[in-house]
Symmetry: C2
Subunit: 189 residues, 2 copies
């Protein structure tokens, strides 16, 4: 029997991603989001949603660019911090000791210590409600060589990304592999 829980942003899983931007003075900022996802294959695009009140929102409007940085389990505390304070009031890179690296492709910094990062330029801005959605074309993906598998692609078991649970508000690890996509369902066909 299903119970109605009302109109809310309650679904699993949601990602934990850190958005990197520069402000108008060139100060790097990092903000954690869970409202986002891949939204197009060609061109490759990722969507992130931000409240207008955030410092990152103004930075993206100004610079038309952002990075998406994937924290691993070991960065959970820093990612949580990035989601709690505003870059308007604090230098979050200084506070965490993480290193902003200026992208050579887009006008935004990425986080050197995070193993998987996307460099994006804004191609659409969608007003929805409390949140505005920025659609970023993924100009390049960069990964630490230490997390690449034998085919040169990032191994999720090495990247160790974090899952966020809305409403219950916890972080989770990735678990075991369940099987190969576009494969395990073939027997039903």
């Amino acid at each position: 029997m299903k119970k109605s829980l009302g109109s809310k942003t309650l679904i699993y899983p949601t990602p934990v991603w850190v958005v990197g931007t520069y402000d108008k003075d060139g100060k790097p900022n990092a903000m954690t989001i869970a409202w986002g996802g891949i939204c197009c294959s060609k061109p490759p695009c990722v969507a992130i949603s931000l409240r207008e009140a955030t410092y990152t929102y103004g930075n993206i409007i100004e610079r038309k660019a952002f990075t998406v940085n994937v924290p691993s389990e070991e960065h959970a505390v820093k990612a949580d911090y990035f989601g709690m304070v505003s870059g308007r009031n604090e230098d979050k890179f200084a506070a965490t000791g993480l290193t902003p690296v200026k992208s050579e492709i887009v006008d935004a910094p990425y986080i050197n210590e995070f193993s998987l990062i996307l460099e994006c330029r804004v191609i659409q801005t969608i007003q929805i409600g409390l949140h505005t959605q920025f659609i970023g074309e993924i100009m390049d993906v960069k990964a630490d060589e230490s997390v690449l598998n034998e085919k040169g692609m990032p191994d999720i078991e090495q990247v160790k990304p974090i899952i966020f649970t809305p409403e219950t508000r916890n972080y989770y690890k990735i678990g075991d592999c369940l099987g190969a996509a576009f494969s395990i369902g073939k027997n039903i066909k």
Copy 2:
């Protein structure tokens, strides 16, 4: 040292969600997606991206509604099947034995056997490129009582949602809890 992997839809984690729709004749369909995410808190909205070539795309254009159904680990094979065949050619509910339930709120069916479902009406349609993004206002969230925690919210460890890894194309389970959001980062402040 970071290696450039090129312009691609490569980020972790992405969700595995099954989109439920009716076609013009009222036949229920189910399609698995990984390109999506929450995109606004007020009104609560979820974004899903589809290629125009899919049967589900036409259904959503026609009905202006869809459900998002969260498969659990035990449904991985069926979710994989839902992503491989088109409802234009097959009756996917008949093939899997899953049960479509007509939503009383939106013009779309949800999957009775999945423990967490969202009922959505389309409020914006965004042309991006190969994919079109549908922004759905979440009119209600429903969950099986068996997956609710003591506060009446779905426990991710009971829902057991699935993670998809683009490029490496595997499914993963959820792992252990890492800590409480908006809490573990407080010491940095």
